[in-house]
């Protein structure tokens, strides 16, 4: 607590009486009575009438000492504030019933709440979004710091559920420093507004899985980088015809489909958040049930399945489609294939089928993006499917067990015209999606935050700005360019 002394015109008596065990009432009769409001950093103005600030300060200090109260005594004059020498310094006890942790209030901003951008303040304490009404009435509390956001937008941090690497790092390679590689990518993607992600492994031989999966542990984000939610295993149980850029020799089929197949291939599933597989492979049903029973999201992709096979997979627990349209049968009006899940009436009630879309302008024609979005807007999840070369200059690079060529915004399997993942960043995808679909800003932002969180079943703590959820959020301007990134209420990147 800081006590400011200032001169008053007439002579006044300076008296101090404690008002409660935690409060202190200072009477400078007859003008000023000040009661502390039971919190730190409270400034209390006390008038003094003595000819010098020093004698007033001494009187005040001795009174405070006699009441065993601590305060820092400062003198405010026309020249500014200076501390009286010999003042006592210390903190007043706080009576915030729930926590003494500092509270930050972000003002002058539009926040994404209840699917709408609203002119509301965002309150954060201890890494979570705080309910200011509860703070006001329950704790009689208020903000310690206010941050002016300059009328910008605050949205939940983006969540990328399909990213294979970037900046020269390939998650599917058993490099000497797997964790360092993930950490580098995690740090860099903060610039794109991504606060949580699923490092993705493409089809690889079992020994790669056995080596890499234990190293990619789920962890919270922070100043070091975005949080790892869990691994996305894209393969190897996928279709040969629709393997895309995945190496054919490491593709596998299910022997019995149960735990044994999965364990033999992957080693263990502890850090795994999602598995992409082709449901038309024999015995896939058992695998799908096993994985979804463990809380692992099952995604359909790189597949030749028809709609009924896809629907059966959904009934067994599949909830996602990996990069819709790519690496699957094209939509046909008599057999819509996997794409037909968007409007299928065989989805179990209460379940939503989500679908990933790479909105880089290359992997999907804007018209196809619009058709999917209009058919099933609530299920659209923006993913980058970013490859090693994302963030790197044009040229030849390594992805999984293969070589790729970068040309502009295109990444091809070396020597072919088969696309090999994208190098667009998540914020580029959000902007592109908004531009070509004509959707609202809210819908574009939710496709990269709320929907992936719902897909992974973590929307109670991520992907929204609801009270009590993790304070992972981004500040954007009206062009949807990311200006600042926050994780757990702490600024981890700014432009």
């Amino acid at each position: 607590m800081e006590l400011f002394l200032w001169r008053r015109q007439a002579r006044h008596e300076l008296r101090c009486t404690p008002v409660s065990p935690r409060g202190l009432q200072l009477n400078v009769s007859p003008v000023t009575t000040t009661t502390t409001s039971h919190r730190r950093s409270e400034r209390v103005y006390v008038g003094h009438a003595s000819s010098s600030a020093d004698s007033a300060r001494d009187t005040l200090c001795s009174i405070l000492t006699s009441y065993r109260t601590q305060a820092r005594v400062l003198h405010q004059s026309k020249k500014g504030v200076s501390e009286c020498s010999g003042g006592i310094s210390g903190e007043m006890p706080s009576n915030k019933s729930v926590s003494d942790a500092p509270i930050t209030q972000f003002v002058n901003c539009r926040i994404l709440k209840n699917h709408k951008l609203q002119w509301e303040d965002l309150w954060v304490r201890e890494g979570k979004i705080l309910n200011p009404e509860k703070l006001f009435f329950d704790e009689k509390g208020f903000a310690d710091h206010k941050v002016d956001c300059g009328s910008k937008i605050i949205a939940p941090g983006f969540i990328d559920v399909q990213i294979n690497g970037g900046y020269g790092i390939d998650f599917s390679q058993a490099s000497s420093d797997i964790r360092g590689g993930v950490a580098l990518v995690a740090k860099k993607i903060l610039e794109h507004g991504v606060t949580s992600f699923c490092p993705t492994l493409v089809t690889s031989p079992p020994d790669i899985y056995h080596k890499v999966i234990p190293e990619l542990r789920a962890q919270d984000g922070g100043p070091e980088g975005a949080g790892v939610l869990g691994i996305h295993l894209e393969g190897p149980f996928i279709s040969e015809e629709k393997r895309g850029a995945h190496p054919p020799k490491f593709l596998r089929t299910f022997k019995a489909g149960g735990v044994a197949d999965l364990m033999e291939t992957y080693g263990h599933l502890d850090n795994v958040a999602m598995v992409t597989l082709a449901p038309e492979l024999p015995n896939s049903a058992a695998a799908i049930r096993e994985l979804s029973g463990r809380g692992i999201t099952v995604s359909l992709g790189h597949s030749m399945a028809d709609l009924s096979q896809a629907e059966e997979a959904v009934q067994n627990g599949a909830t996602f489609i990996t990069h819709l349209f790519n690496a699957m049968l094209p939509f046909h009006h008599r057999d819509p294939g996997i794409v037909g899940l968007l409007t299928s009436d065989h989805i179990p009630p209460g379940q939503t089928v989500y679908y990933g879309m790479i909105a880089d302008g290359i992997h999907t024609h804007p018209a196809a993006l619009r058709i999917a979005h209009r058919a099933h807007p609530a299920g659209l999840v923006l993913v980058t499917d970013a490859v090693t070369a994302m963030g790197l200059p044009p040229g030849r690079h390594t992805l999984g067990q293969q070589q790729i060529d970068i040309q502009g915004l295109h990444a091809y399997v070396a020597g072919t015209t088969t696309l090999s993942g994208s190098i667009a960043t998540m914020d580029m995808c959000v902007r592109h999606f908004r531009e070509v679909s004509g959707c609202t800003v809210e819908a574009a932002l939710e496709a990269a935050s709320l929907h992936p969180a719902q897909l992974l079943g973590i929307s109670h703590r991520k992907g929204t700005l609801e009270y009590g959820t993790d304070a992972d959020f981004i500040v954007l301007d009206d062009t949807l360019t990311v200006r600042e990134t926050y994780i757990a209420g702490q600024q981890v990147w700014r432009k």
């Binding site: 003008v31 000023t32 409001s37 303040d121 009404e133 006001f136 009435f137 009689k140």
Partner: protein, 277 residues
């Protein structure tokens, strides 16, 4: 009484807000002399609250040394329910201004001992030095706060069961489902409001016209509890044209003729900036 008649709802809200603003600033509230304000809820005062927030955001008005006491709160409604009066006050007023949380007082409809809660509220008002200005509205049945027809004109803060009229009027906030409207409230009494040094009643809209007529042109009657303020030394009624529809032309003409006098209370509109040391 003063009867201030403005052309429409917006002008009436603005006049009321200016009046409150001037009263607070003229009072020169400070840390040892708070301005105590009684506050209403409902749709009528929303315009007034909006204007007060605007004045605060412009830097012309501060609520740092203002203590507020709300009139009422539903019993049994969770405090964070969007229709509770706590939510109303937070969303429509407190979160936009610089009032300190411990200086706001709203009855707790979920207290374990409602009677004790009411008595404590009365004591808090006394401890704060009484209410300087109590702002209120009027129900279609002429009630002040939730003092329904038949309430004692010297009543204090207590539990009240709502009249059917009031429940019907409130149904619109509960999805027009009468079964979801709370039936009991805690409310300040007529006597509690009469103890305030000044009372300001906001009345707008044609549906309030008959209640206004009963309140000021007929006698003091516990069936129209706002009529009690005929016996208060300092009452000001602020209304729009529509609310005067049931009054005698003579009454309206008289008070409209006094507007130049009334306007001196709000012009010039003071600002806290003029009083910064």
């Amino acid at each position: 009484m003063r009867l201030v008649i403005l052309d429409d709802y917006d002008l009436a809200s603005e006049w009321a807000a200016k009046y409150i603003r001037n009263r607070i600033i003229q009072f020169k509230p400070s840390a040892d002399r708070y301005f105590t304000l009684g506050l209403p809820t409902g749709s009528t005062p929303l315009g007034c609250y909006t204007k007060l927030i605007e004045y605060h955001k412009n830097g012309d008005l501060s609520f740092k040394y203002v203590k507020t006491f709300n009139m009422d709160e539903y019993v049994g409604l969770p405090r964070d329910h969007p229709e509770s009066y706590h939510s109303y006050m937070w969303n429509n007023f407190f979160k936009h201004i610089d009032i300190e949380p411990q200086n706001t007082h709203i009855l707790d409809g979920n207290a374990s001992n409602l009677q004790a809660e009411c008595e404590a509220f009365e004591q808090k008002i006394t401890a704060a030095g009484g209410i300087e200005l109590f702002v209120g509205g009027i129900g279609p049945d002429g009630h002040i706060a939730f003092n329904e027809p038949g309430s004692s004109l010297v009543s204090r803060t207590r539990v009240k069961t709502l009249a059917k009229d009031t429940i019907v009027a409130n149904a619109r906030f509960f999805g027009n489902d009468l079964s979801r409207v709370p039936t009991m409230t805690l409310t300040v009494g007529v006597g509690t409001v009469m103890d305030a040094r000044e009372v300001m009643i906001l009345i707008t809209g044609a549906h309030k016209a008959f209640a206004l007529y009963k309140a000021i042109e007929e006698g003091v009657n516990h069936m129209w509890t706002v009529s009690a303020f005929q016996q208060h030394p300092r009452t000001i009624f602020i209304c729009d044209e529509d609310a005067t529809l049931e009054l005698r032309v003579k009454t309206v003409k008289y008070f409209k003729g006094l507007m130049h006098v009334h306007n001196q209370l709000v012009e010039p509109t003071l600002s806290v900036k003029d009083y910064m040391d």
